[in-house]
Symmetry: C2
Protein backbone atom coordinates (compact mmCIF):
# COMPACT_ATOMS: atom_id res chain seq x y z
CA UNK A 1 0.00 0.00 0.00
CA UNK A 2 1.59 3.26 -1.11
CA UNK A 3 -0.44 5.35 1.33
CA UNK A 4 1.08 8.74 2.22
CA UNK A 5 -0.29 10.75 5.14
CA UNK A 6 0.71 13.80 7.16
CA UNK A 7 -1.57 14.02 10.21
CA UNK A 8 -1.01 17.20 12.20
CA UNK A 9 -2.40 17.79 15.71
CA UNK A 10 -3.07 21.50 15.37
CA UNK A 11 -3.15 24.17 12.65
CA UNK A 12 -1.58 26.94 14.72
CA UNK A 13 0.88 26.70 17.59
CA UNK A 14 0.69 29.34 20.33
CA UNK A 15 2.62 32.45 19.24
CA UNK A 16 3.01 31.33 15.61
CA UNK A 17 1.11 31.78 12.35
CA UNK A 18 -1.13 29.37 10.45
CA UNK A 19 0.74 26.08 9.82
CA UNK A 20 4.09 27.75 10.63
CA UNK A 21 5.15 25.02 13.04
CA UNK A 22 4.84 22.27 10.42
CA UNK A 23 5.83 24.08 7.23
CA UNK A 24 9.08 22.18 6.78
CA UNK A 25 7.23 18.88 7.16
CA UNK A 26 4.61 20.06 4.63
CA UNK A 27 7.33 20.77 2.06
CA UNK A 28 9.05 17.46 2.74
CA UNK A 29 5.71 15.67 2.47
CA UNK A 30 4.27 17.11 -0.72
CA UNK A 31 7.73 17.54 -2.26
CA UNK A 32 8.31 18.92 -5.73
CA UNK A 33 6.10 16.62 -7.81
CA UNK A 34 2.85 17.96 -6.36
CA UNK A 35 2.07 21.40 -7.77
CA UNK A 36 -1.59 21.87 -6.80
CA UNK A 37 -3.29 20.81 -3.57
CA UNK A 38 -7.04 20.35 -3.12
CA UNK A 39 -8.13 22.11 0.08
CA UNK A 40 -11.26 21.00 1.94
CA UNK A 41 -12.58 23.83 4.18
CA UNK A 42 -15.82 22.16 5.34
CA UNK A 43 -14.92 22.23 9.05
CA UNK A 44 -15.39 26.00 9.22
CA UNK A 45 -18.49 28.02 8.40
CA UNK A 46 -16.76 30.76 6.37
CA UNK A 47 -15.28 28.70 3.56
CA UNK A 48 -14.15 31.68 1.48
CA UNK A 49 -12.09 33.16 4.30
CA UNK A 50 -10.68 29.76 5.19
CA UNK A 51 -9.66 29.02 1.61
CA UNK A 52 -7.94 32.41 1.40
CA UNK A 53 -5.87 31.64 4.50
CA UNK A 54 -4.87 28.23 3.15
CA UNK A 55 -4.05 29.58 -0.31
CA UNK A 56 -1.75 32.27 1.11
CA UNK A 57 0.14 29.86 3.32
CA UNK A 58 0.62 27.17 0.68
CA UNK A 59 1.58 29.77 -1.93
CA UNK A 60 4.43 30.82 0.37
CA UNK A 61 5.57 27.18 0.39
CA UNK A 62 5.42 26.87 -3.41
CA UNK A 63 2.01 25.21 -3.90
CA UNK A 64 -1.18 26.34 -5.61
CA UNK A 65 -4.38 25.57 -3.70
CA UNK A 66 -7.83 24.86 -5.17
CA UNK A 67 -10.65 24.93 -2.65
CA UNK A 68 -13.20 22.17 -3.12
CA UNK A 69 -16.07 24.52 -2.26
CA UNK A 70 -15.36 26.43 -5.47
CA UNK A 71 -15.41 23.29 -7.65
CA UNK A 72 -18.42 22.51 -9.87
CA UNK A 73 -18.23 18.87 -8.76
CA UNK A 74 -16.52 18.08 -5.44
CA UNK A 75 -16.28 14.39 -6.37
CA UNK A 76 -14.54 15.26 -9.66
CA UNK A 77 -12.19 17.59 -7.80
CA UNK A 78 -11.12 14.68 -5.56
CA UNK A 79 -10.75 12.39 -8.60
CA UNK A 80 -8.33 14.85 -10.20
CA UNK A 81 -6.43 15.93 -7.08
CA UNK A 82 -2.62 15.63 -6.95
CA UNK A 83 -2.73 16.13 -3.17
CA UNK A 84 -5.41 16.70 -0.54
CA UNK A 85 -5.42 18.88 2.59
CA UNK A 86 -8.35 18.89 5.03
CA UNK A 87 -8.21 21.74 7.55
CA UNK A 88 -9.42 21.94 11.15
CA UNK A 89 -12.57 23.37 12.70
CA UNK A 90 -15.58 21.35 13.83
CA UNK A 91 -15.15 17.64 13.20
CA UNK A 92 -18.89 16.83 13.19
CA UNK A 93 -19.63 19.52 10.61
CA UNK A 94 -16.68 18.34 8.52
CA UNK A 95 -17.62 14.66 8.55
CA UNK A 96 -21.30 15.35 7.88
CA UNK A 97 -20.37 17.47 4.85
CA UNK A 98 -17.98 14.81 3.54
CA UNK A 99 -20.86 12.30 3.72
CA UNK A 100 -23.37 14.75 2.23
CA UNK A 101 -21.02 15.31 -0.72
CA UNK A 102 -20.25 11.59 -1.16
CA UNK A 103 -16.57 12.18 -0.55
CA UNK A 104 -15.72 9.71 2.22
CA UNK A 105 -15.20 6.66 -0.01
CA UNK A 106 -13.84 8.77 -2.86
CA UNK A 107 -11.04 10.22 -0.73
CA UNK A 108 -10.33 6.81 0.78
CA UNK A 109 -9.98 5.31 -2.67
CA UNK A 110 -7.72 8.07 -3.97
CA UNK A 111 -5.38 7.88 -1.00
CA UNK A 112 -5.26 4.12 -0.47
CA UNK A 113 -5.44 2.97 -4.09
CA UNK A 114 -3.90 5.83 -6.07
CA UNK A 115 -1.36 7.00 -3.48
CA UNK A 116 -2.53 10.62 -3.48
CA UNK A 117 -0.81 12.34 -0.53
CA UNK A 118 -3.24 13.37 2.24
CA UNK A 119 -2.58 16.03 4.85
CA UNK A 120 -4.96 16.66 7.73
CA UNK A 121 -4.87 19.13 10.57
CA UNK A 122 -6.92 18.81 13.77
CA UNK A 123 -10.45 17.89 12.54
CA UNK A 124 -8.81 16.93 9.22
CA UNK A 125 -6.68 14.47 11.20
CA UNK A 126 -9.70 13.08 13.07
CA UNK A 127 -11.56 12.27 9.85
CA UNK A 128 -8.49 10.55 8.38
CA UNK A 129 -8.64 7.88 11.09
CA UNK A 130 -11.05 5.01 11.58
CA UNK A 131 -13.69 7.15 13.32
CA UNK A 132 -14.26 10.51 14.96
CA UNK A 133 -15.04 8.88 18.33
CA UNK A 134 -12.10 10.73 19.89
CA UNK A 135 -12.64 14.24 18.60
CA UNK A 136 -12.67 17.08 21.15
CA UNK A 137 -15.35 18.98 19.26
CA UNK A 138 -18.93 19.78 20.18
CA UNK A 139 -21.53 17.72 18.27
CA UNK A 140 -23.15 20.74 16.62
CA UNK A 141 -24.58 18.59 13.80
CA UNK A 142 -25.39 14.87 13.45
CA UNK A 143 -23.36 13.00 10.82
CA UNK A 144 -24.82 9.75 9.41
CA UNK A 145 -22.04 7.82 11.14
CA UNK A 146 -18.99 8.42 13.32
CA UNK A 147 -16.96 6.15 11.03
CA UNK A 148 -14.68 8.28 8.94
CA UNK A 149 -12.31 7.97 5.99
CA UNK A 150 -10.31 5.19 7.65
CA UNK A 151 -6.86 5.81 6.23
CA UNK A 152 -5.43 4.28 9.43
CA UNK A 153 -7.04 1.57 11.62
CA UNK A 154 -6.78 3.48 14.94
CA UNK A 155 -7.98 6.74 16.51
CA UNK A 156 -6.13 9.99 17.05
CA UNK A 157 -6.90 12.60 19.69
CA UNK A 158 -5.53 15.89 18.33
CA UNK A 159 -4.72 18.84 20.66
CA UNK A 160 -3.99 16.22 23.34
CA UNK A 161 -3.94 18.03 26.67
CA UNK A 162 -2.35 17.05 29.97
CA UNK A 163 -4.40 17.53 33.16
CA UNK A 164 -3.97 20.96 34.75
CA UNK A 165 -3.17 20.34 38.42
CA UNK A 166 -4.20 23.88 39.34
CA UNK A 167 -7.61 23.77 37.74
CA UNK A 168 -10.72 23.73 39.90
CA UNK A 169 -12.86 22.70 36.96
CA UNK A 170 -14.53 19.34 37.47
CA UNK A 171 -15.18 18.30 33.87
CA UNK A 172 -13.38 15.13 32.74
CA UNK A 173 -9.69 15.41 31.85
CA UNK A 174 -8.70 14.39 28.34
CA UNK A 175 -7.22 11.15 29.64
CA UNK A 176 -10.46 10.33 31.50
CA UNK A 177 -12.42 10.88 28.29
CA UNK A 178 -10.19 8.50 26.33
CA UNK A 179 -10.37 5.92 29.13
CA UNK A 180 -14.19 6.16 28.93
CA UNK A 181 -13.88 5.37 25.20
CA UNK A 182 -11.84 2.30 26.11
CA UNK A 183 -14.51 1.14 28.55
CA UNK A 184 -16.55 0.40 25.43
CA UNK A 185 -15.92 -3.01 23.81
CA UNK A 186 -13.59 -3.53 20.83
CA UNK A 187 -12.27 0.02 20.77
CA UNK A 188 -9.01 0.67 18.91
CA UNK A 189 -5.85 2.41 20.10
CA UNK A 190 -5.92 6.17 20.57
CA UNK A 191 -2.82 8.20 19.79
CA UNK A 192 -2.90 11.47 21.73
CA UNK A 193 -1.04 14.04 19.62
CA UNK A 194 -0.10 17.08 21.70
CA UNK A 195 -0.04 20.44 19.96
CA UNK A 196 3.26 20.65 18.08
CA UNK A 197 3.33 17.01 17.03
CA UNK A 198 2.27 15.13 13.92
CA UNK A 199 2.31 11.63 12.50
CA UNK A 200 3.74 10.93 9.06
CA UNK A 201 2.77 7.68 7.35
CA UNK A 202 4.65 6.36 4.32
CA UNK A 203 3.19 3.03 3.23
CA UNK A 204 3.48 0.73 6.23
CA UNK A 205 5.80 3.01 8.22
CA UNK A 206 4.47 5.59 10.72
CA UNK A 207 6.74 8.07 12.50
CA UNK A 208 6.10 10.78 15.09
CA UNK A 209 7.44 14.19 14.06
CA UNK A 210 7.41 17.62 15.68
CA UNK A 211 8.47 19.01 19.03
CA UNK A 212 6.21 17.34 21.61
CA UNK A 213 5.73 13.80 22.92
CA UNK A 214 2.69 11.73 22.01
CA UNK A 215 0.67 9.66 24.50
CA UNK A 216 -0.58 6.27 23.37
CA UNK A 217 -3.67 4.63 24.85
CA UNK A 218 -4.12 0.91 24.27
CA UNK A 219 -7.35 -0.54 25.63
CA UNK A 220 -6.74 -2.28 28.97
CA UNK A 221 -3.11 -1.17 29.29
CA UNK A 222 -1.43 1.82 30.97
CA UNK A 223 -0.86 4.80 28.68
CA UNK A 224 2.69 5.27 27.37
CA UNK A 225 4.77 8.29 26.33
CA UNK A 226 6.66 8.50 23.01
CA UNK A 227 9.22 11.04 21.82
CA UNK A 228 9.51 12.65 18.37
CA UNK A 229 11.10 10.10 16.03
CA UNK A 230 9.13 7.23 17.60
CA UNK A 231 8.16 4.43 15.23
CA UNK A 232 4.41 3.84 15.34
CA UNK A 233 4.30 1.42 12.40
CA UNK A 234 2.81 -1.28 14.66
CA UNK A 235 -0.36 0.80 14.89
CA UNK A 236 -0.91 0.31 11.16
CA UNK A 237 -1.02 -3.49 11.37
CA UNK A 238 -3.82 -3.86 13.83
CA UNK A 239 -6.09 -1.51 15.66
CA UNK A 240 -5.59 -3.33 18.96
CA UNK A 241 -1.99 -4.61 19.19
Amino acid sequence: MNRRLLLVSNSTLHGGGYLDHCQQQIKDFFGEDVKRILFIPYALHDRDAYAKTAKQKFKSLGYEVDSIHEAASPVDAVRKAQGIFIGGGNTFRLLKTLYDQNLVLEIRKRVLEDGVPYMGSSAGTNVATISINTTNDMPIVYPPSLKSIGLVPFNINPHYLDPDGNSKHMGETREQRILQFHEEPDTPCVLGLREGSMLVVEGSKATLLGTTNARLFVRGKPATEHEPGADFSFLLNDSSP
Copy 2:
Protein backbone atom coordinates in the same frame (compact mmCIF):
# COMPACT_ATOMS: atom_id res chain seq x y z
CA MET B 1 -48.00 22.00 32.28
CA ASN B 2 -47.00 20.90 35.77
CA ARG B 3 -43.44 20.11 34.74
CA ARG B 4 -40.89 20.14 37.58
CA LEU B 5 -37.16 20.09 36.83
CA LEU B 6 -33.90 20.59 38.71
CA LEU B 7 -31.09 20.83 36.16
CA VAL B 8 -27.67 20.98 37.81
CA SER B 9 -24.46 21.92 35.99
CA ASN B 10 -22.10 19.60 37.85
CA SER B 11 -22.30 16.73 40.32
CA THR B 12 -19.32 17.76 42.42
CA LEU B 13 -17.92 21.21 43.09
CA HIS B 14 -14.17 21.57 43.63
CA GLY B 15 -13.32 20.77 47.26
CA GLY B 16 -16.76 19.34 48.08
CA GLY B 17 -18.40 15.91 48.09
CA TYR B 18 -20.89 14.38 45.66
CA LEU B 19 -23.91 16.70 45.25
CA ASP B 20 -22.94 18.64 48.40
CA HIS B 21 -23.23 22.03 46.69
CA CYS B 22 -26.86 21.48 45.70
CA GLN B 23 -28.17 19.39 48.58
CA GLN B 24 -30.46 22.11 49.95
CA GLN B 25 -31.96 22.60 46.49
CA ILE B 26 -32.44 18.82 46.16
CA LYS B 27 -34.41 18.73 49.43
CA ASP B 28 -36.46 21.77 48.44
CA PHE B 29 -37.13 20.22 45.04
CA PHE B 30 -38.17 16.68 45.95
CA GLY B 31 -39.74 17.86 49.20
CA GLU B 32 -41.45 15.50 51.64
CA ASP B 33 -43.99 13.83 49.36
CA VAL B 34 -41.37 11.97 47.36
CA LYS B 35 -39.95 9.05 49.33
CA ARG B 36 -38.17 7.03 46.64
CA ILE B 37 -36.17 8.32 43.69
CA LEU B 38 -35.37 6.35 40.55
CA PHE B 39 -31.68 6.77 39.73
CA ILE B 40 -30.40 6.32 36.17
CA PRO B 41 -26.65 5.55 36.19
CA TYR B 42 -26.21 4.86 32.45
CA ALA B 43 -23.68 7.67 31.88
CA LEU B 44 -20.97 5.77 33.75
CA HIS B 45 -19.58 2.32 33.01
CA ASP B 46 -19.61 1.00 36.59
CA ARG B 47 -23.31 1.22 37.38
CA ASP B 48 -23.09 -0.65 40.69
CA ALA B 49 -20.51 1.74 42.11
CA TYR B 50 -22.40 4.73 40.77
CA ALA B 51 -25.70 3.59 42.29
CA LYS B 52 -23.98 3.06 45.63
CA THR B 53 -22.68 6.64 45.61
CA ALA B 54 -26.11 8.02 44.76
CA LYS B 55 -27.90 5.86 47.32
CA GLN B 56 -25.58 7.01 50.12
CA LYS B 57 -25.97 10.68 49.28
CA PHE B 58 -29.76 10.61 48.90
CA LYS B 59 -30.13 8.50 52.05
CA SER B 60 -28.39 11.29 53.95
CA LEU B 61 -31.01 13.69 52.59
CA GLY B 62 -33.92 11.43 53.56
CA TYR B 63 -34.65 9.65 50.27
CA GLU B 64 -34.45 6.01 49.22
CA VAL B 65 -32.91 5.39 45.82
CA ASP B 66 -33.72 2.58 43.40
CA SER B 67 -31.24 2.20 40.54
CA ILE B 68 -32.85 1.47 37.18
CA HIS B 69 -30.08 -0.96 36.25
CA GLU B 70 -31.29 -3.29 39.00
CA ALA B 71 -34.92 -3.21 37.80
CA ALA B 72 -36.40 -6.18 35.92
CA SER B 73 -38.03 -3.75 33.48
CA PRO B 74 -36.52 -0.27 33.11
CA VAL B 75 -39.68 0.98 31.38
CA ASP B 76 -41.84 -0.26 34.28
CA ALA B 77 -39.48 1.37 36.74
CA VAL B 78 -40.01 4.73 35.01
CA ARG B 79 -43.78 4.17 34.91
CA LYS B 80 -43.84 3.68 38.69
CA ALA B 81 -41.27 6.34 39.66
CA GLN B 82 -42.17 9.06 42.17
CA GLY B 83 -39.11 11.04 41.13
CA ILE B 84 -36.25 10.61 38.64
CA PHE B 85 -32.56 11.51 38.88
CA ILE B 86 -30.17 11.06 35.96
CA GLY B 87 -26.52 11.40 36.94
CA GLY B 88 -23.53 12.69 34.97
CA GLY B 89 -20.81 10.91 33.03
CA ASN B 90 -20.66 10.50 29.25
CA THR B 91 -23.66 12.09 27.53
CA PHE B 92 -23.40 9.98 24.35
CA ARG B 93 -23.34 6.73 26.31
CA LEU B 94 -26.24 7.94 28.43
CA LEU B 95 -28.45 8.98 25.54
CA LYS B 96 -27.71 5.85 23.52
CA THR B 97 -28.69 3.67 26.49
CA LEU B 98 -31.89 5.66 27.05
CA TYR B 99 -32.80 4.99 23.40
CA ASP B 100 -31.74 1.33 23.56
CA GLN B 101 -33.99 0.86 26.61
CA ASN B 102 -36.92 2.77 25.05
CA LEU B 103 -36.87 5.30 27.86
CA VAL B 104 -36.67 8.64 26.04
CA LEU B 105 -40.40 9.00 25.34
CA GLU B 106 -41.37 7.23 28.56
CA ILE B 107 -39.47 9.70 30.74
CA ARG B 108 -40.77 12.62 28.70
CA LYS B 109 -44.33 11.44 29.19
CA ARG B 110 -43.93 10.89 32.93
CA VAL B 111 -42.40 14.32 33.50
CA LEU B 112 -44.52 16.42 31.14
CA GLU B 113 -47.85 14.62 31.54
CA ASP B 114 -47.72 13.15 35.04
CA GLY B 115 -45.63 15.86 36.71
CA VAL B 116 -42.99 13.46 38.04
CA PRO B 117 -40.09 15.62 39.32
CA TYR B 118 -36.91 15.22 37.26
CA MET B 119 -33.41 16.03 38.46
CA GLY B 120 -30.41 15.92 36.16
CA SER B 121 -26.77 16.60 36.75
CA SER B 122 -24.22 17.32 34.00
CA ALA B 123 -24.97 14.66 31.31
CA GLY B 124 -28.34 14.17 33.03
CA THR B 125 -28.99 17.87 32.43
CA ASN B 126 -27.92 17.64 28.77
CA VAL B 127 -30.37 14.83 28.02
CA ALA B 128 -33.22 16.74 29.70
CA THR B 129 -32.97 19.48 27.06
CA ILE B 130 -34.02 19.48 23.43
CA SER B 131 -30.79 17.83 22.23
CA ILE B 132 -27.25 16.93 23.28
CA ASN B 133 -25.74 19.19 20.60
CA THR B 134 -24.01 21.24 23.31
CA THR B 135 -22.51 18.51 25.47
CA ASN B 136 -18.81 18.76 26.30
CA ASP B 137 -18.36 15.02 26.16
CA MET B 138 -16.41 12.85 23.75
CA PRO B 139 -18.58 10.92 21.26
CA ILE B 140 -17.44 7.49 22.48
CA VAL B 141 -20.59 5.81 21.10
CA TYR B 142 -23.12 6.73 18.39
CA PRO B 143 -26.68 7.31 19.61
CA PRO B 144 -29.52 6.97 17.07
CA SER B 145 -30.15 10.73 17.33
CA LEU B 146 -28.81 13.77 19.16
CA LYS B 147 -32.40 14.74 20.03
CA SER B 148 -32.99 14.01 23.67
CA ILE B 149 -35.83 13.94 26.19
CA GLY B 150 -36.88 17.50 25.38
CA LEU B 151 -38.23 18.65 28.75
CA VAL B 152 -37.24 22.20 27.77
CA PRO B 153 -37.08 23.70 24.23
CA PHE B 154 -33.51 25.00 24.46
CA ASN B 155 -29.96 23.69 25.03
CA ILE B 156 -27.82 23.78 28.13
CA ASN B 157 -24.04 23.69 28.26
CA PRO B 158 -23.13 22.30 31.70
CA HIS B 159 -19.71 22.91 33.25
CA TYR B 160 -19.64 26.19 31.32
CA LEU B 161 -16.06 27.42 31.32
CA ASP B 162 -14.65 30.91 30.75
CA PRO B 163 -11.60 31.26 28.50
CA ASP B 164 -8.27 30.97 30.33
CA GLY B 165 -6.21 33.99 29.30
CA ASN B 166 -2.99 32.28 30.39
CA SER B 167 -3.50 29.11 28.39
CA LYS B 168 -1.30 28.37 25.40
CA HIS B 169 -3.65 25.65 24.22
CA MET B 170 -5.13 26.37 20.81
CA GLY B 171 -8.29 24.23 20.94
CA GLU B 172 -11.56 26.17 20.71
CA THR B 173 -12.82 27.93 23.84
CA ARG B 174 -16.25 26.93 25.12
CA GLU B 175 -17.73 30.15 23.79
CA GLN B 176 -16.23 29.50 20.34
CA ARG B 177 -17.80 26.03 20.34
CA ILE B 178 -21.24 27.39 21.17
CA LEU B 179 -20.88 30.11 18.52
CA GLN B 180 -20.06 27.37 15.99
CA PHE B 181 -23.33 25.68 17.00
CA HIS B 182 -25.14 28.95 16.32
CA GLU B 183 -23.58 29.18 12.85
CA GLU B 184 -25.89 26.28 11.99
CA PRO B 185 -29.43 27.25 10.93
CA ASP B 186 -32.42 27.22 13.31
CA THR B 187 -30.41 26.46 16.43
CA PRO B 188 -32.02 27.20 19.82
CA CYS B 189 -30.68 29.22 22.74
CA VAL B 190 -27.84 27.77 24.79
CA LEU B 191 -27.73 28.41 28.52
CA GLY B 192 -24.17 28.06 29.79
CA LEU B 193 -24.38 26.86 33.39
CA ARG B 194 -21.08 27.36 35.19
CA GLU B 195 -20.14 24.85 37.87
CA GLY B 196 -22.07 25.79 41.01
CA SER B 197 -25.22 26.85 39.21
CA MET B 198 -28.49 25.10 38.36
CA LEU B 199 -31.83 25.84 36.76
CA VAL B 200 -35.08 25.03 38.54
CA VAL B 201 -38.25 24.80 36.45
CA GLU B 202 -41.71 24.81 38.03
CA GLY B 203 -44.38 24.68 35.33
CA SER B 204 -43.78 27.72 33.15
CA LYS B 205 -41.32 29.42 35.52
CA ALA B 206 -37.56 28.92 35.28
CA THR B 207 -35.11 30.36 37.80
CA LEU B 208 -31.33 30.29 38.11
CA LEU B 209 -30.10 29.01 41.48
CA GLY B 210 -26.67 28.43 42.98
CA THR B 211 -23.57 30.52 43.44
CA THR B 212 -22.32 31.35 39.95
CA ASN B 213 -23.60 33.41 37.02
CA ALA B 214 -24.98 31.81 33.89
CA ARG B 215 -24.12 32.90 30.34
CA LEU B 216 -26.90 32.92 27.77
CA PHE B 217 -26.25 32.51 24.04
CA VAL B 218 -29.03 33.54 21.68
CA ARG B 219 -28.32 32.89 18.00
CA GLY B 220 -27.19 36.09 16.26
CA LYS B 221 -26.98 38.19 19.45
CA PRO B 222 -24.15 38.95 21.89
CA ALA B 223 -23.96 36.61 24.88
CA THR B 224 -25.36 37.94 28.18
CA GLU B 225 -24.57 37.32 31.87
CA HIS B 226 -27.23 36.47 34.47
CA GLU B 227 -26.97 36.29 38.24
CA PRO B 228 -28.45 33.68 40.60
CA GLY B 229 -32.16 34.44 41.00
CA ALA B 230 -32.49 35.40 37.32
CA ASP B 231 -35.84 34.59 35.72
CA PHE B 232 -35.36 32.44 32.62
CA SER B 233 -39.05 31.70 32.07
CA PHE B 234 -38.89 33.28 28.60
CA LEU B 235 -36.67 30.40 27.49
CA LEU B 236 -39.57 28.01 28.04
CA ASN B 237 -41.89 29.77 25.62
CA ASP B 238 -39.76 29.58 22.54
CA SER B 239 -36.44 28.11 21.69
CA SER B 240 -35.31 31.27 19.85
CA PRO B 241 -36.78 34.35 21.61
